[in-house]
């Protein structure tokens, strides 16, 4: 049986507005994350991802509901130290001092986390992340990718069981992204990851929760999310000939098995509900000088748009 490391029970958070009212940032959130799982938290800006992360990392308290981390209730002050030892929080490339060198940053955090023999550990982690040679420089001189690697080194140095990573790979070049994705996959840690980069989530996460306006819309595996969209088959094609575009659109709209037609310049995307309509559709398209006809694989972006 999977060991549940993080569990939330009707977790809610409200903020008071200056005007006197209240705004609900999270509403009755119920999630559970298993040991060793990489759990993705997806949602548009303002969905409540950072609020949830802040509560789980003990930075703020929920208004109602509660969460258990390793069975310890986060609301109890007596549990704070036990929980804090087990959590490593990374908020993008922040939480490091730009006015200090990379090494001084890591040394400082190692000391306040009471880590023995930190020099060896720092060398090992930063060598793996490819920033060991930069450690003597001020962080303000680092590139964004190097800052992110340093921020990740800080989290790995404290050797937490649970990593909470808020937008850990935002704004990186593809090569660095690929490297860090592989690195995170090989860590074998329980990871709660928030992002709105679908390709990152797709590569990393076992399960994904969609959060919108403080509510969990759905929690499921990637495969099941994609099945959501498989009720429709989407086909794209191009029609460079301007004069024929209105004509083909009119004819397609007359076909009752076509659910949707999107047209942007010379590109058309249509949805059909079954493959049995394919021959008829191709016959119809064959009457026009269409190009690049292909079926579009559903992506998490589509799920994201559909759910949010």
């Amino acid at each position: 049986m999977n060991e549940k490391i993080i569990e939330t029970f009707n977790l809610s958070k409200e903020y008071k507005l200056k005007s006197g009212g209240k705004i609900s940032a999270l509403n009755n959130i119920n999630i559970s994350i298993n040991k060793g799982e990489i759990f993705g938290l997806l949602g548009p800006n303002g969905a409540g991802k950072t609020t949830l992360v802040s509560i789980l990392s003990t930075l703020i308290q929920p208004t109602s509901g509660y969460a258990n981390i390793y069975g310890f209730d986060i609301r109890k002050k007596s549990n704070a130290k036990r929980i804090k030892r087990r959590i490593g929080l990374m908020l993008g490339d922040e939480m490091v001092y730009y006015r200090m060198t990379g090494f001084d940053n890591l040394k400082f955090f190692a000391r306040i986390y009471r880590i023995n023999s930190y020099n060896k550990k720092i060398k090992e982690i930063t060598s793996n992340l490819g920033i060991h040679d930069k450690l003597g420089e001020y962080v303000s001189n680092y590139s964004r990718g190097q800052k992110l690697r340093l921020a990740l080194s800080r989290v790995l140095l404290i050797d937490a069981d649970i990593l909470i990573l808020d937008e850990p790979l935002l704004g990186l070049d593809p090569k660095t992204t690929r490297y860090l994705v592989k690195f995170l996959l090989e860590l074998n840690k329980t990871i709660l990851l928030t992002s709105h980069q679908m390709h990152i989530v797709r590569q990393l996460c076992d399960r994904i929760a969609f959060l919108n306006q403080g509510n969990i819309i759905k929690i499921d595996t990637q495969e099941n999310y994609l099945k959501l969209l498989s009720e429709f088959i989407r086909i794209s094609f191009e029609l460079p000939d301007k004069t024929k575009r209105n004509e083909i659109e009119k004819e397609l709209r007359s076909l009752n098995y076509i659910n949707n037609i999107d047209n942007k310049k010379n590109e058309f995307i249509i949805s059909i509900s079954d493959y049995k309509f394919y021959p008829d559709l191709l016959t119809c398209l064959g009457k026009y000088p269409v190009q690049k006809v292909k079926e579009i694989e559903p992506t998490l972006d589509d799920v994201f748009i559909k759910l949010s």
Binding site: S54, S57, T58, L59, I60, K81, K84, R85, I87, L89, L91, E94, M95, V96, Y97, Y98, R99, M100, D104, K107, F108, F109, R111, I112, Y113, R114, Y138, R154, I158
Partner: protein, 277 residues
């Protein structure tokens, strides 16, 4: 239970926090040097004004201010001004730590929050120590006193730094939870500090409002610092102005202000957390 191992761990954490803050404040060396020198430059005009006034009449203000001691009092006032800057030191520091989100990184570490405050406190006082040592050396060079009086003066300076650091913490926590309140408090506290007879004697104010000034604990701090140093030079002239209230206020507020400030900081922070970033 406090074991030797725990004590060692706590000391390491406090030391690390102190070193970190000192590294941050000395990152830009020239900026740091300017911050040390700038308060002394502020003495230039008061010196000219006071010198002119005392040339007109030696006992122009009444009280114990005279042509012989006003330079010393200006320097000691300047020493306190450097310590008043602790208010903005903490305000800036907590603002920076909030925006860099490093405060979050520290607060989620398994570290006693009192250690965090002690680290900030020691770093703040050390960061102001260079100009303080320089000014006190200058005072000693111009107005030499015996060791007991010097030690007593240094103790009073430490008491003043603790009190201003405490007030800095109050400003700092509001910088974290609500910058509007912090800005208003900052103006209020600096106004109170500046109308505490920092550079001038109470006698320049009309007698009717002396009781208002004497309600302000800071007045006793600054008055006592001047009087103790002056007593080291001219005991008879100064001693008559020192009262038991000076010592009672100094001792009481030096002890209670850090305690209240720490309690207030931790209460407000845990209730409201970081806001705005």
């Amino acid at each position: 239970m406090l074991t030797l191992k725990n004590l060692k761990t706590n000391l390491i954490q406090i030391y690390s926090l102190t070193v970190k803050d000192l590294k941050l404040s000395t990152r830009y060396k020239l900026e740091f040097v300017v911050e040390c020198i700038a308060p002394l430059l502020a003495l230039f005009f008061p010196y000219i004004i006071f010198n002119t006034l005392f040339n007109i009449k030696n006992n122009i203000f009444g009280g114990y201010y005279s042509k012989e001691n006003f330079t010393l009092f200006l320097l000691l006032g300047n020493c306190v001004t450097v310590l008043i800057f602790l208010l903005w030191y903490y305000q800036d520091l907590f603002y920076d730590e909030k925006t860099w989100k490093t405060l979050n990184a520290i607060m989620i570490a398994p570290i006693n929050k009192v250690n965090i405050l002690l680290g900030y406190l020691i770093a703040g006082i050390i960061s102001k120590s260079i100009p303080i040592i320089f000014i006190l050396t200058l005072c000693f060079f111009l107005y030499p006193i015996s060791l007991p009086f010097l030690l007593l003066s240094i103790i009073i300076v430490l008491c003043i730094s603790l009190t201003f650091a405490s007030m800095g913490f109050v400003l700092g926590v509001f910088e974290i939870v609500n910058e509007d309140i912090s800005a208003s408090l900052s103006v209020g506290i600096s106004f109170i500090s500046l109308v505490s007879c920092l550079y001038y004697p109470i006698d320049i104010f009309p007698k009717e409002i002396h009781f208002i000034i004497k309600l302000n604990p800071l007045y006793y701090y600054f008055d006592l610092l001047r009087l103790i140093w002056w007593a080291g030079i001219n005991y008879e002239d100064a001693w008559g102005f020192i009262t038991i209230y000076h010592f009672i206020v100094l001792a009481t507020f030096t002890v209670i202000s850090p305690l209240i400030a720490s309690y207030f900081f931790l209460k407000v922070y845990s209730k409201y957390g970081t806001s705005g970033y």
